[in-house]
C-alpha cells in the first residue's frame, strides 16, 4: 500500500509541475503559480557552518557510535549460547536553521516569497566529517557526546544561497502592506516548493520515484508470495506461476490508479485553461475601467496647467514693467517658483501605466497560451489522450493576432 501511495503522489505532483505554466514575477495572479528566478534579499542571512550569504539554511551535526551487543540465542535443541554483534550508526546531536522572506527576481520584476511551511530543497553548501581534534568538533558542535561515541562527527548544511536560481511552486495571495502579490503557505495548496533545482530536475526526481515505487508495487506481492511459498519447502518452477498472477493483479491496480490520477489531473488542467482565459478577461476589464479615467485626469491636469501658466505669464510680463510697489518683486519670485510644465509628469505617469497595463494583458495571454499548449500536448499524447477526452479536455486553438495587428506600428506624432 505504501509504495502505491508514494507512486500516485509522485505521479500527481509531476503532472502538476508539468501542467503549470511558468508565470512572470510581475504577472503573478492570485492562485497556484510556478515561478523561476533568483533568490534576492536586502539583508542576507549568514549560514551557520559554511557562513555563506543565503536566504535560507538548515544544518545538522551527527555523531557516530559503535557498540558490541551481546545476546543469547536458544537453538532448536534447547542449547543456549551467547553471540555478539557490532552495531553502529549516526545520531543527530544538534541541528538548526533559519529562513527569511526573500524576493524572487526574474526579468520582469520581483515577488516576495515567505518560506514558512514550504518544502525547501537547498543546495549542499557544507559537508565535513571530523574528529575531536578539529576545531569544528566542539566549536560548532554541542559539548558532550553520545554513548559509545567513536569521536567522529559529521557536519552538513544545505542552503538557498543569495542570487541562486530558484524554482518556486506555491499559492500567491495579496500582500497586506502594499497592493502586490506574495507567495506564502496555504493549506489548500497542493504543494509549496522552493527548490534550487530546475523544473526539469524536480519533475525528473518525481519520475524516478514513479518508476521505483511502480516496480515495488509490481514486485512486492509476488515477492511476498514467493517467500511465503519458499518457507513451506523448495519450490519448482510451475509452483512459482501464481507469483506472476500476483504481479498481473498489481499491474491492474496500478492501471486503475493511473487512470484515476490522470483523469483528475486532466480535469484540473481543463479548469486551469478556463481560469487562464478568465484571467485575460480580468486584465482587459482592468484596462477598460482604468485607462479612460486616467486619460480624463491627465486632460484635466493639462487644462489646469494651461490656465495657471497663462495667469503666471500675465504676472511675469507685467511685474517687470510696474514700479508700483515692492510687491512686484514678490510676484516675480512667486512666478519663478513655478517650475515649467508640470503636467508632463501626469503624461509620463499615464504612459507608464499604459505600458504596464498592456504588459499585464500580454502576460495573462502568455499564461493562457501556455496552459492551452500543455492541455493540447496532454490531449494528443498516447495513451493519455483517451483519458483526456473522458475528462472533457479538448484541443483548443491558441490566441493569435490576425491581420493588421501583426504589421509594424507607424509612430506618427504629426497628427
Amino acid at each position: 500500500m505504501l509504495p502505491l501511495w508514494f507512486w500516485s503522489r509522485a505521479l500527481r505532483l509531476r503532472r502538476l509541475i508539468q501542467d503549470l505554466p511558468t508565470s512572470k514575477a510581475r504577472g503573478v495572479f492570485i492562485g497556484l503559480v510556478e515561478l523561476k528566478g533568483t533568490a534576492e534579499i536586502e539583508e542576507p542571512l549568514t549560514s551557520y557552518l559554511a557562513e555563506t550569504a543565503c536566504v535560507q539554511f538548515g544544518w545538522s551535526v551527527s555523531e557516530e557510535w559503535r557498540r558490541v551487543v551481546t545476546y543469547t540465542v536458544t537453538d532448536k535443541d534447547g542449547n543456549s549460547r551467547t553471540e555478539t554483534r557490532v552495531e553502529s550508526g549516526w545520531t543527530t546531536v544538534a541541528s538548526g536553521g533559519l529562513a527569511s522572506p526573500f524576493h524572487l527576481v526574474d526579468d520582469t520584476g520581483s515577488i516576495l516569497v515567505r518560506p514558512e511551511g514550504a518544502t525547501i530543497e537547498g543546495r549542499s553548501v557544507f559537508s565535513e566529517t571530523v574528529t575531536a581534534f578539529s576545531d569544528l568538533y566542539y566549536g560548532k558542535g554541542p559539548p558532550g557526546g553520545v554513548v559509545d561515541s567513536t569521536g567522529r562527527r559529521m557536519f552538513t548544511e544545505s542552503a538557498v544561497p543569495l542570487h541562486a536560481p530558484v524554482f518556486v511552486v506555491g499559492k500567491a495571495r495579496q500582500r497586506e502592506d502594499v497592493v502586490a502579490a506574495e507567495i506564502a503557505a496555504d493549506p489548500s495548496a497542493p504543494m509549496f516548493l522552493i527548490s534550487t533545482r530546475s523544473e526539469e530536475q524536480v519533475a525528473g526526481g518525481h519520475g524516478w520515484t514513479i518508476w521505483l515505487t511502480g516496480l515495488l508495487v509490481l514486485a512486492l506481492p509476488a515477492g511476498g508470495w514467493a517467500i511465503d511459498r519458499n518457507q513451506m519447502g523448495p519450490a519448482d518452477w510451475p509452483d512459482l506461476l501464481p507469483a506472476g498472477w500476483f504481479s498481473l493483479g498489481a499491474s491492474g491496480v496500478l492501471l486503475v490508479a493511473w487512470l484515476w490520477q490522470v483523469f483528475n489531473s486532466m480535469t484540473d488542467l481543463r479548469n486551469r485553461v478556463r481560469q487562464a482565459s478568465s484571467l485575460v478577461d480580468i486584465q482587459l476589464k482592468r484596462r477598460n475601467d482604468l485607462i479612460p479615467e486616467l486619460v480624463r485626469v491627465v486632460e484635466a491636469a493639462r487644462a489646469h496647467e494651461a490656465g495657471a501658466q497663462q495667469a503666471l505669464a500675465a504676472l511675469r510680463a507685467n511685474a517687470a514693467a510696474e514700479q508700483l510697489t515692492g510687491l512686484s518683486g514678490g510676484i516675480m519670485g512667486m512666478a519663478e517658483a513655478y517650475p515649467d510644465l508640470k503636467a508632463n509628469g501626469n503624461f509620463l505617469s499615464l504612459q507608464k501605466e499604459l505600458a504596464d497595463t498592456e504588459q499585464r494583458i500580454a502576460m495573462a495571454r502568455d499564461y493562457l497560451n501556455d496552459a492551452i499548449t500543455n492541455a493540447n500536448t496532454r490531449a494528443e499524447r498516447f495513451p493519455e489522450g483517451w483519458v483526456a477526452s473522458l475528462a472533457g479536455l479538448r484541443r483548443l486553438p491558441l490566441l493569435v493576432t490576425e491581420g493588421i495587428e501583426r504589421q509594424p506600428v507607424q509612430v506618427n506624432l504629426a497628427r
Binding site: N271, A301, A308, L315
Partner: protein, 199 residues
C-alpha cells in the same frame, strides 16, 4: 459464522465506507462553495471601495485645482486694479480720493499675495498637479485591488469546480446539489477591445 452473516458484514462495511466518503465529499464541497462566495463578496467590497473613494478623491483634487486657480486669479485681479488706480492717481497727483483708492488697491493686492504665499508655503510648488498624480496612482492601485480580488475569486471557483469534477466526487456532486460555478467573464464584448487614448 454463517456465510450470510459474513456477506451482511461486508455489505454493511461497504455502505459505511461509501457513506463516509460521500459525507467527506459533501463537507469539502460545502467549504469550497462558501470560499468562492466569500471571494465574490470580496470583489464587491473592492468595487464598493472604488465607488466610495474615487468620486471623493476627484472632488478633493478639483478643490485643490480650484483653490490654486482662484488664488492666481485673485492676484491678477488685484494687480490689475492696483495698476489701474495708480495710473489714475499719476494723472492727477493732487486728488486725495485717487490716492486713497491706490492705498485700498494696495491693501487688496497685499492680501491676495499673502494668500498666494500661504498657498505656496502649504504646497511648496503649488501642487494641484501632484494631487492629480496621486489620483492617477490611486486609480491604478484601486484597479489592481479589484483585479486581485477577481483573481482570488477565480482561484476559489476553479478549486471548487475541480474538486467537484475529479473522481470520485464527480459521481456524487450533481446528486448532492453542487452545480458548476462560473468564472469572471466580461459581459459586454466591447470592453475587451483596446482603449483608444485621445486628447
Amino acid at each position: 459464522m454463517s456465510e450470510l452473516m459474513i456477506g451482511l458484514l461486508v455489505a454493511g462495511g461497504a455502505v459505511v465506507v461509501v457513506a463516509l466518503l460521500v459525507i467527506s465529499i459533501y463537507n469539502g464541497l460545502i467549504g469550497k462553495r462558501n470560499d468562492y462566495k466569500n471571494a465574490f463578496a470580496k470583489v464587491d467590497v473592492q468595487l464598493k471601495r472604488r465607488y466610495d473613494l474615487i468620486p471623493n478623491l476627484v472632488e478633493s483634487v478639483k478643490g485643490a485645482m480650484a483653490h490654486e486657480r482662484q488664488t492666481l486669479d485673485a492676484v491678477i485681479q488685484a494687480r490689475n486694479t492696483a495698476f489701474a488706480v495708480s495710473q489714475k492717481a499719476a494723472e492727477n497727483p493732487g486728488d486725495p480720493e485717487a490716492m486713497r483708492k491706490v492705498g485700498e488697491a494696495e491693501a487688496v493686492l497685499r492680501g491676495s499675495m499673502g494668500r498666494l504665499f500661504a498657498l505656496a508655503e502649504a504646497y511648496p510648488n503649488l501642487k494641484a498637479n501632484e494631487n492629480m498624480l496621486q489620483l492617477q496612482g490611486e486609480l491604478g492601485e484601486t484597479e489592481n485591488r479589484i483585479a486581485f480580488a477577481r483573481q482570488d475569486f477565480n482561484d476559489k471557483v476553479t478549486t471548487y469546480n475541480t474538486s467537484r469534477e475529479v473522481f470520485p466526487a464527480i459521481a456524487f456532486a450533481g446528486m448532492l446539489g453542487f452545480g458548476p460555478a462560473s468564472l469572471f467573464e466580461i459581459d459586454n464584448p466591447e470592453e475587451r477591445q483596446a482603449v483608444k487614448v485621445k486628447f
